[in-house]
Symmetry: C2
DNA sequence: CACATATATCAATGATTCTTGATCAATAAA
DNA sequence: TTTATTGATCAAGAATCATTGATATATGTG
C-alpha cells in the first residue's frame, strides 16, 4: 500500500514500483488521469465524461489514490480529484531507472 | 495484445498503454528488467539470480515480451533476452503525456 | 539414434482484480 | 427534521493473473 512519495526511494523497492505501475495498468484509470491532467475534477463530472458507473469510478479513483497518483479535496458535497505531481516525478524516476548502467555483460559463456 | 511499438502511436490508446504498464506491475518482472538493463541475459542466468522457478520466469518473460518490453534472441539452446529500447522510449512518451495541457478547468460550478 | 539440456507451454489451483447493484455516510437544502 | 444529492463502501460473481508441477519442443552431444 502507498505510504509516501519521495525522490529516490522507489528504485530499490519493486513492490512500491509495482503498485504505482499497477495503478496505471487499466484503461479506465488511464482515462481518468487523462481527464485529470486538464485540471481538478469532481466525480460526477468524470462519471459524465467517461460513461462509467459511480461505484466503478469510485473504485478506480481509490486505486489511483492509494497508489498516490491522485489527491482529493472535499468541497461541500463534492470531491475534487487531481493528479499528484510528486507521483509524476516518481514515475519519471522509475522510467529513468530502467535505462541506467547498461554495461556490457560478458560476451560469451552462459550459465 | 501487443502488436508493435512506434513513436507516437500509444498516447491515445489506453488499452495499449495499460498493457505496457501491466507488464511493469509485478515485482518479479521489475526484477527481471533490473537484471536485463545490465545487458542481455539468458534464462538460466536469471533463474539463478532471481531464485525463481523456470516456468515462473518463463511466464513473466512472456508477459514482458508480449508487451514489447523485451526482445529475445536464440543462440544454440539458449534464449537471450534484453530490454527493448523502443519500449523505453514509448514509456517515456506515456509518462510525458500525463503532464500535458494542464489548463485551468472552470473554477466553480460542478456537474 | 539415444540422451541431456534449455526453455516454452499446458493444466490445475489459488489469488487478485474488476464490475454491478445495494446500502451507508456526509452534506446541503426545503 | 425530512429529503435530496454526492460519493464511499460492501457483497457477490466474473474475469484475469500468478504459481506450480508436468509435459513438450528445440537443440546439441556422444
Amino acid at each position: 500500500m502507498y505510504i509516501f512519495v519521495m525522490k529516490g526511494i522507489t528504485v530499490r523497492h519493486p513492490a512500491r514500483a509495482a503498485e504505482l505501475f499497477h495503478a496505471l495498468a487499466d484503461p479506465t484509470r488511464l482515462e481518468i488521469l487523462d481527464e485529470l491532467k486538464e485540471g481538478e475534477c469532481c466525480v460526477c463530472e468524470l462519471t459524465d465524461r467517461l460513461q462509467a458507473g459511480q461505484s466503478r469510478l469510485s473504485f478506480h479513483l481509490k486505486v489511483l489514490k492509494d497508489a498516490g497518483m491522485i489527491v482529493d479535496r472535499r468541497e461541500g458535497r463534492w470531491m475534487y480529484y487531481s493528479v499528484n505531481a510528486a507521483a509524476l516525478a516518481e514515475l519519471d524516476e522509475l522510467v529513468e531507472s530502467f535505462k541506467q548502467t547498461k554495461r556490457a555483460r560478458r560476451a560469451s559463456g552462459c550459465c
